[in-house]
Amino acid sequence: MKIQGKVWKFGNDIDTDVIIPARYLNISDPKILAQHCMEPIRPNFSSLVDKGDIIVAGKNFGCGSSREHAPLAIKTCGIQVVIAKSFARIFFRNALNIGLWVFEIPELYNLTKEGDRMIIDLKKGFIEHHTTKEKFTIPQYPAFLQQIINSGGLISYLLKNHRRK
């Protein structure tokens, strides 16, 4: 699977209150959540994003609350991949659980700027900078998590592997 899109850059410690403010957590419709994604720091973010775009961020992306609405809002904007120096642990779990790709590639941060175009080849496991042609390897998930992903997500994995009571 190949994803092509432009880069949206964010700094360090982007928290879940910024990704989706809590006043919208009474909403479960992903389309409405997406309209408010990144609102406190980038109003209208969702209307600027094209499907396939990627977020490139600094360290500790998604820190703060456990709201699954955060990766859901990002994904529904059209973002399929977030690449960060590191992810806060709950956000990382939530992203995998709802099917948003999250990769930790620290060196990519300084080598990209907002608007750069990237090609992501998930099957071959690399990311290519459209202009500089520089290639970055997508790190492998730990085998345990790869099993969950291969099963089509956490719930399908559990249903397959857990004895029906």
Binding site: D13, D15, D17, V18, P21, A22, R23, L25, N26, I27, S28, E39, P40, I41, K59, N60, C63, G64, S65, S66, R67, E68, H69, S86, A88, R89, I90, R93, N94, N97, I98, P142, F144, L145, I148, G153, L154, I155, L158, L159, H162, K165
Partner: protein
Amino acid sequence: MTITGKIIAAHSNRKNVSPGEFLMAKVDMVLANDITAPLAVKEFYATKRKKIFNRNKIVFVLDHHVPNKDINSAENCRLIREFARKFKIANPFEGSNGGIEHALLPEKGLVNSGDLIIGADSHTCTYGALGAFATGVGSTDIAGILLTGEIWLKVPETMQVIFNGKKRRWVYGKDLILKIIGDIGVDGAHYKTIDFSGETIENLSMPERFTICNMVIEAGAKNGIIAADEITRTYLKKVCRRTPIYYKNDPDAHFCRVLEYDVSKIEPLVALPHSPQNIKSVYELNRIHIDQVVIGSCTNGWLEDLRIVAKILKGKKVNKNVRLLIFPATYQIYKKALSEGLIQIFIDAGAVVCPPTCGPCLGGHLGILAKGERAVSTTNRNFIGRMGHPESEVYLSNPAIAASSAILGWIGPPEEIGLK
């Protein structure tokens, strides 16, 4: 092994576990609230499974957008209520039987030493104060637990924090945890356990221990842990009917980092906008004027916190430019505050006493800040827009500083209103 390692091992049929390992663990108690449970419940229904893993080990607390702030919130609460009824969930809490989840669960005896507790709320880590392994996850993970009673975990490394020495006047558990976050940063304990020990911790009350463990997530930690001692045992004996298991760190337990503090050097601290790591001593601040003070939350809404606040507010008036909102963490705490006369003192001083709810802490409802407004809050986060408008500001402090600031009209310690 460390305490965290031992608890995880005991819940995954293992003798030993090592940091970095992935495994499936059995859950003693699973928790979700009116923000996170709806998604979990919907995912559970989508599987078309007819059974939940154990109705006695599921807790739902309606505490974030309650009393319902709007139609959507009301629908969410109804969805949870219907699920709880359908599956005969043993522990659904709301109204005067409820309160803020992380104060409520310990109070109801639903947290025991040695437990493994998973909650769809990042501050689930609070229960580490009772010697339990407790951490936050999202809604899908909760749906998985509703189905199977299990969760996948990566065994964390443990960082040790030792506090020795006597606290100065107006220094509380809140200041100790703010100090650590300030020193190591908001990802300083990324994926790790923080184990708290030392003479100061041994002399801390349960509420202060809860406050400390509550905010480990603000340093990126997976959980916090305090080994059970006499104070823990006394607390648990009063509330919890299950038999506790008290774990200790092995003498050769591995700690990835050790931090030692002389507490007598720590001053009352304030976290400046927009990060809990932005720490300054309250004595360094130069008359930062404020519009609102919020006292309460899962961090500092304990009875002990309210007593500190009442001592400071008694016979005084809140500054005319300041709105003071006080949220006892649970109805049990609220009732005790009433019978002790604390609520009377608050209202006489000009405070608005609100129902137990998470509302203002996360800018959900009640006490929302307007553009450019500034608040001092005893809560746990001061991110951009956390309590309202993206251009509002939140300063985090302990309850004493919050109370004296409400009287002063700017951020200042109780000494500034003449208290020693």
